[in-house]
Symmetry: C2
Subunit: 459 residues, 2 copies
């Protein structure tokens, strides 16, 4: 018995080999193979495989799935893939799939469909309650608690007895579904609290819910932002969070797994912004989409480069006499850029994780300048020694003084810019990318040549 179970759950790992085998089984119409090697997997694993197939292959594989697995696999597929797959089905067929799907997943799927098809699909969903749930959910703006929630939940009235509750639960859930919380509402459907399962199990069958429920629970309104939802659920370690409307009525619940997705997406978006990608692209998007996401910040960087060229251009005569000044242009630019990125990354993360709250900003800047001074002295000391040995004192002094100044400037800007952006409600992750690098490049060159001209005129 036990061995049987251990074999049953082997962590599935998608490989090119598996995908190719499935592809050729589809080509050969090898239903026996597909039945044992594809259909026995968990819906999430099937979805991962189908994501890698062509549209026709995907349709072939999808049609093999039964009534229960189909909607689950559909819910787990990549958005783009799902859109392509659904395009080959009639509205009636799509409606059938949505009928057996969780309301939040169904709403996500339907929201991706072309506007003119959405209503048609909705009108063909047989279960009227499901159709109205979906219609309600697609109203909510993306990024709100309303758009994250699902309608499936278990609620009981405060005036019911434990026995009546158990009867209700029997009716409200099917056998397979997990049950994380039983919400208690008054006769106007307004949220009162939560009934711990343990209490339900151990209380007297005739005890009333109002005597045993727990009124201390956390909830959000439908209009709360998804970041607020993440914050509350993460901070208070919640698995499910009830959602209420303006009148305090219980209208849905958000599960932690949906919030995990939001956390991942937010982190991905921050990395994209910090890397100078203006849209959230992934490497499977097509060439034009990827190009378009990248070109804006490249152009910003180029403009910075052009400004830099004008600044250096102003010192053309100086370079003619002292071409060695040009040698250290990349070093000054790169170090300034690196320091700026380091400083701003710490601030961006502090802002994202809420660890900066309660600390004051002048103090942060001061500390950052302290770090800059320390690292700046180390770096410029080393470069002084190097340049003095290789070139001469004048160049060594120029490079090391400029480097120290650049490091301090970059430390200051790397701290100040994201904090300021955050104050003006602009995503501070933008500051860690090409923006702060470009700015530091320009400032670095300016400082370097100013120092150079000054020192060369003295010595």
């Amino acid at each position: 018995m036990f061995l049987l179970i251990l074999q049953q759950f082997m962590q599935f790992e998608l490989t090119t080999e598996i995908v190719n085998k499935i592809k050729s089984a589809i080509k050969d119409n090898n239903l026996v193979y597909l039945n044992t090697e594809l259909l026995q997997l968990y819906p999430q694993d099937i979805a991962q495989i189908i994501n890698q197939l062509d549209v026709e292959e995907a349709r072939f594989a999808y049609d093999l799935l039964d009534e229960e697995a189909g909607p689950k696999v559909l819910a787990e597929m990549d958005e783009d893939r799902r859109e392509q797959l659904l395009a080959s089905y009639s509205t009636k067929e799509i409606a059938e799939q949505l009928d057996n799907m969780n309301s939040d997943d169904a709403a996500d799927v339907i929201a991706e469909l072309p506007q003119n098809i959405q209503e048609e699909v909705l009108s063909q969903i047989e279960d009227i309650e499901q159709a109205s749930d979906i219609a309600e959910l697609i109203q909510f703006e993306e990024g709100t608690a309303g758009s994250l929630m699902a309608k499936e939940l278990i609620s009981v009235y405060s005036f019911e007895t434990v026995n009546q509750c158990i009867e209700e639960i029997r009716k409200q859930t099917d056998n397979t579904e997990m049950m994380y919380a039983i919400y208690v509402v008054d006769n106007n459907e307004r949220l009162l609290g939560v009934l711990p399962l343990k209490k339900l199990i151990i209380s007297h069958p005739l005890a009333r819910v109002e005597e045993i429920y727990d009124p201390d629970l956390r909830y959000v309104k439908t209009s709360a932002t998804s970041l607020e939802v993440v914050e509350i659920m993460q901070k208070y370690d919640l698995v499910a969070l009830p959602v209420i409307d303006q009148l305090g009525r219980l209208v849905g619940r958000i599960m932690i797994d949906d919030v995990v997705d939001v956390i991942k997406e937010t982190a991905d978006e921050n990395i994209a912004r910090m890397s100078g990608l203006s849209d959230d692209v992934d490497s499977n998007d097509n060439l034009w989409v990827i190009s378009r996401a990248r070109i804006p910040w490249l152009l910003v960087g180029m403009c910075g480069g052009i400004v830099g060229s004008r600044i250096i251009g102003a010192y053309e005569e100086h370079i003619k006499i002292h071409p060695e000044m040009a040698f250290f242009i990349p070093l000054i630019g790169a170090t300034g850029g690196n320091v700026g990125v380091q400083s701003s990354a710490i601030i961006v993360q502090g802002l994202a994780n809420n660890t900066l709250i309660g600390s004051n900003i002048p103090q942060k800047l001061l500390k950052e300048l302290g770090v800059g001074l320390l690292n700046g002295i180390i770096c410029s000391g080393l470069i002084f020694a190097y340049a003095y040995v290789i070139e001469d004192f004048r160049l060594a002094a120029t490079v090391s003084i400029a480097l120290l100044t650049v490091v301090l400037c970059a430390s200051f800007l790397g701290t100040f810019v994201p904090l300021t952006m955050n104050r003006f409600k602009i995503n501070p992750a933008l500051a860690t990318g090409p923006f702060v690098t470009t700015l530091n490049d320009i400032i670095g060159i300016t400082i370097y040549f100013l120092t150079g001209r000054l020192l060369y005129s003295i010595f």
Copy 2:
């Protein structure tokens, strides 16, 4: 009734003002204020405030907490803060706090204590079972499933009846605790499956567990890595994951909220690596720690800068005659760096999110070169026009040809380097940081001056 609840849960927002008020209340020994404004909050909120206090203030506030709230607040505090706070307590007092803490939190706290104190604290924990649970948990290596799990779980034997189960549950949990899963084990404590709560509630009191339990469940061994745990829980949308030992015995469970923390930490670490921070520092760490985390990559960048200076140095005579060549050094370097970071960020994210699996690498490289070619043509076209107007044809041709080549090289390296690093099990996020930027800087300068010398000798 309802209004009362709505007032009860106001999303707590930590502000400098609140912290200052608490600080002065502590100074004035204003217990009435502290009782209403601090002790009434949730443990997580209290921990946030205590994190911002001095050690003495923190100790004052902590001592006000009752037996139940104290351990919860301690578990939620920042590691550094907690260490400082606990240093002022005796081992006996620490043991008392750990006695009422969840086993996983207690193990985390004890692992932070100095080695010589750990045993002393363990030996003074009154509840022998709790002490042995903690002793077991601190054995597991960080980053494994064993180190993430807690010992608190509900398990029943397969031969028990529903009635006996309910009696067991009554014994095994206290009233406040949430109950997410009831695990079923055989008489050797080996994991057999899970008993859905719903089934427990609606089944006949004399039905046996073995007739109603669900053998289909996912689990991990104690030796699984935390990233495997994250993958399984995230993919299959699990709220709790049972952990078994080498013999298949149920030894603990991992909750999703601990996994959420792992996800956040992993994302933070990636951002740190991409930004050239060699340790995971936050802005509250002290000056030396922050400096030390930053200096290694700054030095790498400086070495790159020195190599760059040698390359430019080789063209000293050329620069003397054509100082305008120096103007565009920053532009070439910056654009190469930006493209490299963009390319590698997409790959790093694809690797982190497992979306690259099943796609082949030559194809990725080809696509990336396509994107590079497209963006490179746009950028070099623009810069040609600019340089032609401002300077002359030779410089315009040099800059634009070099830029296109640099963009292509950077696209290639930005894709190739992280993929290669990943193959050799090195965190590819390292590649997106100063490493790829420095490499691109050097390559960019080399290409630029090679092109320059070639074109200037022709025209």
